[in-house]
Amino acid sequence: MNALKTYLLSGAVSLAAIGSAQAVEIEYWQYFFDARVTAMEQLIENFEAANPDITVNMTHFPYADYRTKVAAAIPAGEGPDVVQLFYGWLNDYVEAELIQPLPADTFDPARIDAEFFPMVQAMKDGDQYWALPTAVRSLALFYNERLFEEAGIESPPETLDELVEIAGQLTKRDGAGNITQVGITTGMNAQDHHWFREVLVRQMGGDPYENNYQTVNYNTDAGQAAAAFYTGLEAEHGVTAAGFMDEPQAAFKAGMAGMHIDGSFRIGALDKVRGLRWGVTELPANAEGMRSNYSSYWVNAITTKAEDERYDASVKFMEYVTSDEAMQIWLDVVGELPAKPSVGMTDANANHEVYGPFIRGLAYANTTIFANESAQRQVLMDMVQRVSIEDLPLTEALATAAEEEQVILDEYYAD
């Protein structure tokens, strides 16, 4: 009896030992945004259920501290094994040796090229991917259904010409000629700098950058036409006023703007506005029917801290968070768009009343590779204000903008 007990006990102990040898804990870091944390909790739960020997601990920080914390923790061997970062920061993270490339056997570049929306290829360097998104964001045209009905407009604009015409019908002015309702909001500070770069310039037949976004290329006829169209909305057609009601999305929320270009991340905020009836449609095409869009995204990557069994677990986790299932959960919980056509282009998603226009936009979206997004945005804001405030000719303002942006790019890529 005693012998049997001892035998069983030792068996149990050794089993437990095996169990603990296999159990791996990995750390996942992201910045704090309520819906993202909820979605990630759900993903981790599903992942742990499928992989009982792996535990994922999620830590989140306020956005402002994120970069510093990550940078301090990883070299110290603390921090995350899998980390979330903005696509625009990838270069910095790679250069600082904070992240390692994804293994080509599990994340075959050829397969990823085929399976993900094309703009994700910005995360590829040579023949390996450094990071992959779960979800992506794109732009679309929001419109106020109530104002459309009031003005007797049946459907949102399909082309840029229709956009101008409809915006004209939606604009209201008081007796003194002051604008009291804009047909379309404008503001380079919001999403318009993306609209200009990746959409308007391309629609006018140009290519905003060359040499993998290291050379500015919008000081051309196409760029000139795009800038003329954009500034013409206010200067020529009078269907908008920059800074109207302080910021574009505020004017749209307040029901004082007929149309508004914004990202998919705005959906949640607009849903909460009582009494606002809005619809959304794809960004207008040019006269030839050509469309373009801008997409940005947050990616997940494996850090250089992850080694051995933690590395294997991290790869498994990366596989799961870039799976179709994870993308659908992310769409349902956060409202961010799936990064693969196999999830995005399902009938239910692509024809979804709200998400549909954004998802369809992904098929022809481009992703600007920024060196310093806020500084590059500032350049375009200054361009518009040089024309509107300082009365500089548009050609000069555009040339100055292109020069200034080139300086930013040159400095960044110099080292």
Binding site: R67, D174, G243, N372, Q385, I389
Partner: protein, 297 residues
């Protein structure tokens, strides 16, 4: 224990004094001097917060010298100082001087002046930003429009924006300065005024010969204090121009905002540190100059 007994009383006093001083000294060394030294060091390096710091020599300072935006921002910072300090000094003195004589609801009026000082600068800046908007949002332009007067571009103008941003900053600081001035006024012995009145001196002479000279320490304090405040102005500007920080076209951008932008949007920590060193030097010079000019002869 033996060691302590061998000390003289004087030595024990010194030991005690240093013991008590150690805490603030350590605090200052760790919280102030070390980061200051580190920032100066960083200004000669390149660092993007992620990788290693690399030596850059004087590169950051040379870049600063050739940076048009920096000189624009440098000028703005001094415009804030040269407009803000005298205006707030004069207004707060006038208010304090007259408030000192008011008996009716004295406490209440004083509170009204002090209230903006206690209000969060962020909340105040946002409210003022809306005040300044064009119709249909902004109250100032709505009033103008209702009288048929053309709108004024307060913030969306390279000439009006800086004064428009400065106004609430001056207003917010008034309360504090008024209180300090009133304390200064109360500290002047009444006998001087009585003597002056017996001699039949005019009110203006009393003001220029008694009140203002005797307020000199107060004026020095407020001048230095508010100068430093205006040289470091940030929250009002950042929050009132949040859609285009320091804009339009950098016309309202102060040095601190440029530092913030370089460091936390551009992640160019070395360049930001070089700007910080310049700001530090400017603050030091201005403070020393003021102390020298206003010193007792």
């Amino acid at each position: 224990m033996r060691l302590r007994q061998n000390l003289t009383i004087r030595q024990k006093h010194i030991l005690w004094a240093w013991g008590l001083l150690a805490l603030p000294v350590i605090f200052y060394v760790v919280i102030r001097f070390y980061p200051t030294g580190n920032a100066i060091l960083l200004s000669f390096q390149n660092w993007n917060l992620l990788g290693d710091r690399t030596w850059a020599g004087a590169e950051n300072y040379i870049k600063l010298w050739h940076d048009d935006v920096f000189w624009k921002v440098f000028r703005n910072t001094f415009v804030y100082l040269l407009l803000g300090t005298p205006i707030s000094l004069v207004i707060s003195f006038l208010i304090a001087f007259h408030l000192d004589r008011v008996r009716f609801m004295h406490g209440f009026i004083r509170m009204l002046y002090f209230l903006p000082f206690m209000t969060s600068a962020v909340a105040m800046a946002w409210v003022w930003r809306w005040f300044y908007q064009p119709v249909p949002v902004g109250i100032f332009n709505n009033i103008l429009a209702s009288f048929g007067i053309p709108q004024i571009n307060f913030l969306n103008s390279t000439t009006n924006a800086l004064p428009a941003v400065l106004a609430p900053a001056v207003w917010a600081g008034l309360g504090f300065q008024v209180i300090i001035f009133m304390a200064g006024l109360r500290a002047i012995p009444q006998s001087y005024y009585e003597a002056a009145r017996i001699d039949g001196v005019s009110g203006f002479t009393i003001l220029t010969q008694i009140t203002i000279p005797l307020l000199k320490p107060t004026i020095i304090f407020i001048t230095v204090f508010s100068s430093i405040g205006f040289l470091r102005i940030f929250d009002h500007v950042f929050n009132m121009t949040t859609n285009n920080p320091g804009g339009p076209l950098n016309s309202t951008k102060p040095l601190v905002l440029m530092i913030y932008d370089t460091a936390f949007n551009g992640f160019n920590m070395g360049y930001a540190a070089a700007q910080t060193v310049v700001l530090f030097t400017v603050l030091l010079c201005v403070s020393l100059l003021q102390l020298y000019l206003l010193r007792d002869r």
